[in-house]
Amino acid sequence: MKPFALTLAALLAATSYAADSKFAEEFGKRWARTRPLTIGVAQAMPPVQYEFRPDPGSMSFAEQIAHIAQINYAFCAGLKDTAPPPMPSATDKDALIIFLGDSFDYCSATIAAVTPEQMDRPHSSPDGRLNGRELLLALYVHLAHHRGQEEVYLRIKGIKPPQYVF
């Protein structure tokens, strides 16, 4: 490779690295901030209401929690191009909250270790083939979509959800 092309390639690689590292770092901070909110929503529902579903076609509150945890694992394992770790078949409140918290921690560790190459490359995910940045966005909005449903479940039960944080 000629010196000019080599220099250009090196500059581009450095720029991409900087952009992707910053993206992952920023995303990691936001992911950490959304953990207590999501856990707080799960904690706010009494154990006896975990099987509550507002209509027959909807997931129960417990199923919403398990679904978020499973999909967190699936997205973040996808980012590493590995299979998700074995998951518990949790059904009661305490076990589900541990499952949920563990899925956040798994993703936090994954995001902290993500490489620029992983951010740029397509991966398998619950939403199909996505590059690292798209995958993290999909992870984030999937969580919001289901937490938004849980919040209404809480309201139906007369419970005020935790204050939203950003």
């Binding site: 000019f4 250009l8 500059l11 581009l12 720029t15 991409s16 952009a19 993206f23 920023e26 936001r30 507002p54 209509d55 076609g57 909807s58 590059n131 940045r133 798209e134 966005l137 999909a138 984030y140 909005v141 919001a144 979509h145 289901h146 937490r147 938004g148 449903q149 849980e150 919040e151 209404v152 479940y153 309201r155 139906i156 007369g158 005020k160 939203y164 950003f166």
Partner: protein
């Protein structure tokens, strides 16, 4: 500037643009998805369902749609450095007007996503008490709409309607 340096600079700038703008493209794609779902949900709920609320102390369906519309102006006005406020949540119009207002609000915010380049997205603005890059504000706008779309899904289900995001599966 010597021709070779100029060419290098031009090539570098062009390549950088291509390298940098995926962030904007990806943010726009995700926004387009949720915009589509919210508009279709607003259209799907019958007019008499706009006053429906599943619990006494939460927003009605119409207020939820109005809230999402208002925040397109509040959030995306920040990144466009404009102060443009709306109040459709409090002054909820009838369905037809609300749907039109929602579409206009999404057109306003969609403009911000469409005009975005990654360099522009990295500019810093004051938002919710902190300095943040514009990309984060727009991502928050997208995520905020997804969270409220999650609320909307339950309202629709309680009315016996299939949410737009589940239409293919059901």
């Amino acid at each position: 500037m010597k021709p070779l340096i100029f060419i290098i600079a031009l090539a570098f700038a062009g390549a950088l643009w291509a390298e940098d703008n995926p962030l904007s493209t990806e943010a726009r794609t995700n926004f387009n998805t949720i915009q589509d779902y919210v508009i279709r949900a607003a259209e799907k709920m019958p007019a008499d369902g706009y006053a429906f609320k599943p619990a006494p102390d939460i927003r009605s369906f119409g207020q939820l749609i109005g809230h999402i519309a208002d925040d397109q102006y509040a959030f995306c006005g920040v990144v466009k450095r404009e102060k443009k406020l709306a109040d459709f949540e409090r002054n909820t119009p009838p369905k037809a007007e609300m749907v039109a207002a929602l579409k206009a609000a999404f057109a306003y915010s969609g403009d911000a996503y469409s005009l975005m380049t990654d360099a522009w997205a990295k500019e810093r603005v004051q938002f919710l008490g902190r300095e943040r890059v514009k990309l984060n504000v727009l991502t928050f706008n997208t995520e905020h709409a997804w969270e409220h779309y999650g609320n909307i899904v339950v309202y629709l289900r309680l009315k016996g309607l299939v949410p737009p995001s589940s239409e293919k599966k059901d």
